[in-house]
């Protein structure tokens, strides 16, 4: 379970003080598929980064399975990201020099785990890319790239998958495929939190949380 208590995030952008989050309270249960929506600049991505232990709040508590990560040192945050969290980005961020197989296996390098070929092939099969394992990212379509990124996000068996506008760069057909994969993952017991501007997909999520001006909108 993830619990956010009175999360505030302030930072400076040039001469300007930005209050990205202004007291967010949010609880996400295990196996939930949550869509986070809201206008640009509302604080969705900042919230996702805090949920993913990539950033820490200026004030408030972030409890992941009861452990407060708000004041954790960087070394423990890295460990938590490796063990419990998977990330998917709008721009995929695949490494061009690596094959699909190696891109999926990349997080294993950082968690010092051997690349289990069967497991990676299983993940590729799950996202429909078993025929593309030896291909370079440049040979993939946008949808295939995002599916590779999802497999990469799952390779460390995370408890939570965080997806920042995973369908933002995709057409409706590929968006549907991605959403289906995320939904299946939730059905298999994975907590999935997805930022989206797609109202239709948000409506089909288990729960939709709207962020507005750094707060959870009523």
């Amino acid at each position: 379970m993830i619990e956010l208590r009175q999360i505030q995030k302030n930072y400076r952008r040039g001469a300007e003080d930005v209050r990205a989050l202004r007291g967010v309270d949010l609880t996400i249960e295990k196996n939930e598929l949550v869509a986070i929506t809201g206008p640009s600049g509302a604080g969705k991505t900042t919230l996702l980064h805090i949920l993913g232990c990539l950033d820490q709040p200026s004030h408030g508590d972030v409890l992941i399975d009861g452990v407060n990560t708000a004041t954790m040192p960087e070394s423990q945050l890295v460990k938590l990201r490796r063990e419990k969290i998977g990330f998917v980005f709008q721009q995929f961020y695949l490494i061009p020099g690596l094959s699909v197989f190696d891109n999926i296996a990349l997080p294993l390098l950082f968690s010092k785990k051997p690349a289990d070929r069967k497991k990676i092939e299983g993940l590729a099969d799950m996202v429909g890319l078993s025929h593309r394992l030896d291909h370079a990212p440049s040979q993939l379509s946008g949808g295939e790239m995002q599916r590779t990124a999802i497999a990469r996000g799952l390779v460390n068996d995370p408890d939570v998958l965080l997806a920042d506008e995973p369908t933002g760069n995709l057409d409706s057909e590929n968006s549907e495929k991605i959403f289906t994969i995320l939904k299946n993952l939730r059905d298999q017991g994975l907590t999935t939190i997805m930022i989206t501007h797609n109202a239709e997909l948000a409506a089909r999520a288990q729960r939709s949380v709207r962020i507005r001006d750094g707060r959870v909108a009523a």
Binding site: I95, L98, F110, N156
Partner: protein
């Protein structure tokens, strides 16, 4: 499965041209470093072998510059001074002398042929003792007008034993008795003739530019040279060890300058590596942010970037040594064309210790060049990086 070195290597291959150019810069610097260090070793070994081949322990020459004497001993430089004829009597009368032979080295212009012959007048009976390693095609001269030709002279004039060697001096006809086999040293460029004939040709009766001396007991060289120096005024005695030191000192000065230039070149290529890796880091900021998000620690990022630098440096270093070894003969030919004396034999030989030393050196330089970009990359804020 991707490992840190493979990931680094694949990152390098993403910018093939840039990586290749950076690597070539390192290869050039390390190749020259390896060549200079190997050359130093080969030069000293070649010099020692060359001096051993002379079969003499010391030279008696007119007082003057030690470098001049070194040049005389090693490549027959012309010294415009002659020993007094009585010096030979003193040397021969000294105890402990096994062999003393006057040597007259001079240039003999031949306007008819348009050449300048280098002549080496010596007692032909003493020649086998002075040049014990020579292979002679034909035989040693037996009469005053018979000569030996160095390999290059014979090749140049297309002469063989029994042929007549033309001289500018009227009434003197020289016959080639034998041709010295290739020595790949300055010996190949001389015409060897009995010293009396050389004196006649030059019109310097009784003249000698040096007296080559071989002693019975090499341990007594110091005592003998002291005795001669105090007994005969106006002479200088130079042992082969001193000749070696003299030439080595000259070579060491050239080497120090070359090394300084090579080190500057290495520094420049290290800056090139740093620049190349920094560019790669800036271009991959978002990718580094992604790696941090999926579990890479700062240390992981540091390692990847440092691996890229060391791969570039090591790759360049190995290629540089390979080029230096393969191009050794070309480098030697160049050095021989610009240096006044270079001993015969291979000057640049593959020495695993020198090669390993050069590689270790460039590895350390690579590590140093990589630290700044690696620290820079490891400090990238993943949140900022992912935002772009």
């Amino acid at each position: 499965m991707t490992s840190y070195p493979t990931l680094a290597a694949k990152n390098i291959l993403r910018h093939r041209t840039r990586s290749l150019l950076t690597m070539l810069g390192i290869a050039a610097s390390v190749g020259v470093l390896f060549a200079v260090l190997s050359f130093n070793q080969g030069f000293n070994e070649g010099l020692a072998a060359e001096l051993e081949r002379t079969g003499l322990h010391f030279m008696v020459v007119p007082s003057g510059c030690a470098h001049e004497v070194a040049a005389l001993v090693l490549h027959g430089a012309v010294i415009p001074k002659f020993l007094d004829t009585q010096v030979m009597d003193h040397v021969e009368a000294t105890d402990g002398i096994d062999l003393a032979t006057p040597i007259l080295v001079a240039q003999l212009p031949d306007q008819e042929r348009g050449t300048i012959d280098l002549i080496y007048g010596v007692d032909m009976e003493a020649l086998p003792a002075i040049k014990p390693g020579w292979q002679i095609d034909g035989r040693m001269p037996r009469s005053p007008h018979e000569i030996l030709l160095g390999y290059e002279v014979a090749q140049h004039d297309n002469l063989k034993p029994g042929d007549v060697f033309s001289t500018p001096a009227a009434g003197i006809e020289l016959t080639v008795a034998g041709i010295v086999g290739l020595t790949s040293s300055q010996d190949d460029a001389f015409v060897y003739l009995p010293i009396a004939t050389a004196q006649d040709l030059l019109d310097y009766p009784q003249a000698a530019t040096a007296i080559g001396v071989k002693v019975n007991d090499p341990a007594a060289i110091g005592a003998i040279t002291d005795e001669l120096t105090s007994a005969v005024p106006g002479i200088q005695i130079v042992t082969m060890g001193e000749v070696m030191n003299s030439v080595s000192n000259l070579a060491a000065s050239a080497r120090a300058l070359s090394l300084a230039i090579v080190l500057i070149a290495i520094l420049i290529s290290a800056v090139g590596v740093m620049n190349s890796i920094l560019m790669a880091v800036f271009e991959r900021t978002q990718e580094i942010g992604m790696m941090r998000a999926v579990g890479a620690s700062r240390w992981d990022v540091f390692r990847i970037i440092l691996s890229e630098t060391t791969i570039l440096a090591l790759g360049g270093g190995l290629v540089g040594i390979l080029i230096a070894v393969l191009g050794a003969r070309l480098i030697e030919a160049f050095v021989r064309s610009v240096m006044p004396f270079v001993p015969s034999g291979d000057l640049i030989r593959f020495d695993p210790v020198v090669a390993l030393g050069s590689v270790v050196f460039i590895f350390i330089i690579g590590l140093c060049a990589g630290i700044y970009p690696a620290v820079k990359a490891s400090k990238i804020n993943p949140v900022e990086a992912i935002k772009g």
